[in-house]
Symmetry: C2
Subunit: 329 residues, 2 copies
Amino acid sequence: MPEKIFEKIDVVGIGNALVDVLVHTDDAAVAALGLTKGTMQLISQAEMEKLYAHIGPATEMSGGSAANTIAGIASFGGSAAYIGKVANDQLGKVFRHDITAQGITFNTAPHMDNLATGCCIVLVTPDGERTMNTFLGASNALTTADLDAALIGAAQYIYLEGYLFDPPEAKKAFYAAAETAKAGSTKVALTLSDLFCVGRHRDDFQKLITTHVDLLFANEQELCAQYQTDNLDAAIAAARGHCDILAVTCSAAGAIIITPDEIIKVPAEPVARVVDTTGAGDLFAGGFLYGLTQGLPLAECGRLGTVAAAEIISHIGARPQQPLAKLAA
Amino acid sequence: MPEKIFEKIDVVGIGNALVDVLVHTDDAAVAALGLTKGTMQLISQAEMEKLYAHIGPATEMSGGSAANTIAGIASFGGSAAYIGKVANDQLGKVFRHDITAQGITFNTAPHMDNLATGCCIVLVTPDGERTMNTFLGASNALTTADLDAALIGAAQYIYLEGYLFDPPEAKKAFYAAAETAKAGSTKVALTLSDLFCVGRHRDDFQKLITTHVDLLFANEQELCAQYQTDNLDAAIAAARGHCDILAVTCSAAGAIIITPDEIIKVPAEPVARVVDTTGAGDLFAGGFLYGLTQGLPLAECGRLGTVAAAEIISHIGARPQQPLAKLAA
């Protein structure tokens, strides 16, 4: 059977498909759980169930880092696709509904075996900061067989989350996707995802950055950790030659876009009240990639990133609640 | 085996246990679906699946009218219990988690047969108004056997939602619960729930109000429909003799508390921006019942009702996101 022919696609995201379980809590509770605020830790199913039994009433919403980014691109009006693994259970159907309801191509077959759809228990503190506890579940079952070469080949960019290095088979799929992209004219974007994720995968990330990555997203802490320095300028200088574009997010200070030729500082978009920072980095990447694939100047790509991040941190959850196309205008 | 002895309980709620699926949409979409904005319609599983496939990305949160009320009472610091039927599926577990995480007694055995946990697809329009589409699912399986006489006997009030008249077996349980309450010293509170619900059950509601109901909640439209008049004063006059306390909610105009001896007007609590009115009536009832069971004056009970309603309409979803005890102070 011939591969399906896809229309030109702006971005294909590949990531761990998760449903977020968002709960309001406080700093003392986060500390009592032995967690580092603002980071992500991996937990087993037993740990997830124990934590869930411990937390207060929650809200369930589709999440997953790259999926959030792709949802942002679609909300701006971009054409997007997603590859990731959910189970055929209720939360898997919620994830599938939410992403396809935005017109995003999502053809990955559901996992039909023993794993439940993965989830991320997100502890949101009163300052809006989030601390994430991820049970990978069915997202562990993503393999190279789930990659759609025609889909990847039709895209301007594939977008890979660093978190995908955690499930062993997904890591292989990650490399295969990057190879498939490079074999054609598809560019490769990567996010370092999380401080602890960099700690787990620094050397592998570094190899990939120097050989395959055209566009690298990171926040200040992640970039410094990747280049093992306390100095952001030193980290930027080290990363600068390794990829065409480096986009560094700096929380309330906005973002910095670095190319071999220029450094562009982008101020943060003002927000009345920061409710929940879950998805801020994901949505910055979404706005930036949307702008880039529309051929917009880098400063405008950065502005779209900050517009999307500002929308997402003003409410609970990591998916846009207003059309970003309207906010961008 | 002897029945479990319960500590004194403020309120036991009995209702259709549902998970809300909340989605932002617009007036045109609500009209195109042939729906009457602000009301609730019952839908089959096939209709639910069709509607779900049609709507945009959503947020899942525990709901159910009486369950929202009970969550409000617990958030104020009241002791509360709930009786309602979910399935043993993922959404049923979400419902059970969220209600028990608030310290609410919820011992109803899950439905183990073919019905999925019920859900309510809530279309939220830009004015914050909600239009509800309920698939009863497992809540259809609530029967008299699920009633816990010891629990009901230990409560100051049972709180019954009019929606419970829709599933035939639940209607029998509704009557049995009211009888059990009346056989002891437990008082009976009822909400008329919805304009269309009144249309379906007017005569049965009327019999119950005159024979069993001590405290009646309704909004203006529901009370007028119940007494088949366009005039709120006429409706109030007709209802006044039938129960000890009548609490009528009037949206932005606040509420009116009516007893045989007095009429108390309660202003609405100011809200910066109405995001989603889902649960406003439920939470008014929660605040009011909390005050009443603490022995507070009726005007203060009304104020607590408006405080709870104001919190709930300022965010997506029908469960409090801040401790109401703190807001009440």
